[in-house]
């Protein structure tokens, strides 16, 4: 049953089929973080994928030598803003996983600063996710996760871990930082999977 709010008419009708339920369009780029913004120099940066048997790692230089893709995509934050048609450059997770051997189906993304978020492996492969280091033609600002962040645009944006430093393969799904603090384990914006 819908209860109407007396006297409320609302302003924007974002009747845009690209907007998931409960989202509104923004032109800014708001920030959701739980603590201070870490500053990471690219010389110190490293990205690792660790599996049941092995650890794969890339320095910034090695990472920049990988094939780089241009990504145009919409992003949806759990705090209800969406930005349509954003442009990024980054390395596809398909490229990073090309030589990785694992039978585990879940991942935990780890960030500089200690944050974690869980994403099923299948949501990272087949052209669905990148490690992005450029936004709108500029190096990714630290506030938005620079030098590099995970970009998984088909899930709510907290899954796109800022300041990412690696992926840990897991045999089963486990909650990351935001998931332990009330956010949904999967986070599909089209199903409004915001909270538990």
């Amino acid at each position: 049953m819908t209860i109407f709010t007396r006297g409320f008419s609302g302003r924007g009708r974002d009747n845009n089929p690209d907007l998931p339920p409960g989202q509104y369009l923004t032109e800014d780029f708001p920030v959701l973080s739980a603590g201070p913004t870490p500053e990471i120099a690219t010389e110190d940066w490293q990205f690792t994928i660790s599996t049941e048997t092995k650890r794969y790692s890339w320095t910034w230089e090695q990472f920049m030598a990988l094939p780089i893709e241009e990504v145009g995509t919409d992003i949806h934050c759990v705090t209800r803003w969406s930005k349509l048609g954003t442009s990024w450059r980054g390395v596809s997770l398909d490229t990073l996983f090309a030589d990785v051997d694992t039978s585990y189906e879940f991942t935990m993304a780890h960030s500089y600063g200690g944050y974690t978020t869980n994403v099923p492996l299948e949501d990272l492969l087949d052209g669905k996710a990148w490690i992005a280091f450029e936004f709108d033609g500029e190096p990714l600002h630290p506030e938005h996760g620079g030098p590099a962040r995970l970009l998984v645009p088909h899930l709510y944006f907290w899954k796109s871990a800022k300041w990412v430093r690696g992926l840990e393969m897991l045999p089963q799904d486990e909650p990351g930082f935001w998931e332990q603090n009330g956010y949904h384990m999967y986070g599909d914006p089209w199903q409004e999977e915001r909270y538990w």
């Binding site: 709010t5 924007g12 739980a34």
Partner: protein, 229 residues
């Protein structure tokens, strides 16, 4: 679904709203709710608001500052009346919270309406009889814009004000934004290992959190909540 019990003017642009919510499970200090408004044509707008009240009561108090160009806050500040129905979802958030079991010193830092979850922490501190040392730094546009001034003054928590647009008569400095030096001088020293709660507009929180790290406070002791803007 709740019923507005009462409203009270806090400042020229701010108002508190108390909603009666039967079956509300209670909340801990620092949590928020999502408020959903529905227009006659079914259009809905949802925004998050921190809970100023704390504890098991089925009355939930919100405090909203009006953004003149905003969609939801002008409705909540100017239009809502006692007896209106409001749809609230929560309590939400399990990270930006203070619990009375935490005994260490706590430094609260607010920008504008970011004071709301911090007020609930002060209330929780008082209600629980906690002896954890509490201190607050509150940046606000003008003396008239302060939320809960009297209550804060009576809480026993030291509150340092920074006025960005206009200062009270006889104030030692002119209006101006918080600076790193002012911040350093107004918070518990590093040696006391305070836990920080920083809340307000994104740019304010960003600046404060960065300065605190530069001043030598460990990043993991700084919890932030960004209101947007």
């Amino acid at each position: 679904m709740g019923t507005v019990e009462s409203t009270s003017t806090l400042t020229p642009s701010g108002r508190s709203i108390t909603v009666s919510l039967p079956g509300w499970p209670g909340n801990i200090a620092g949590q928020h709710v999502d408020v959903r408004l529905t227009a006659p044509d079914g259009y809905q707008a949802v925004r998050s608001y921190s809970i100023a009240s704390v504890g098991p009561a089925e009355l939930v108090e919100l405090a909203v500052d009006k953004l003149p160009t905003g969609e939801v806050s002008p409705y909540l500040v100017d239009d809502v009346q006692p007896g209106d129905m409001l749809e609230l979802r929560g309590p939400l958030g399990g990270w930006f919270v203070w619990k009375p079991e935490q005994t260490g010193p706590v430094q609260l830092i607010a920008g504008g309406s970011g004071v709301v979850p911090l007020v609930s922490m002060v209330r929780s501190h008082t209600a629980s009889g906690s002896d954890a040392p509490f201190r607050m730094l509150y940046s606000v546009r003008t003396p008239d814009d302060v939320f809960y001034r009297e209550e804060l003054a009576g809480s026993g928590v030291q509150v340092d004000y920074v006025y960005t647009r206009a200062v009270p008569a006889g104030w030692p400095t002119g209006p101006g934004r918080l600076t790193k030096d002012r911040l350093a001088a107004s918070v518990f020293p590093v040696s006391e290992t305070p836990a920080f709660f920083v809340c307000g507009p994104t740019a304010f929180v960003e600046a404060v959190a960065t300065w605190l790290v530069e001043l030598g406070y460990p990043a993991e002791t700084i919890k932030t909540e960004r209101f947007g803007g």
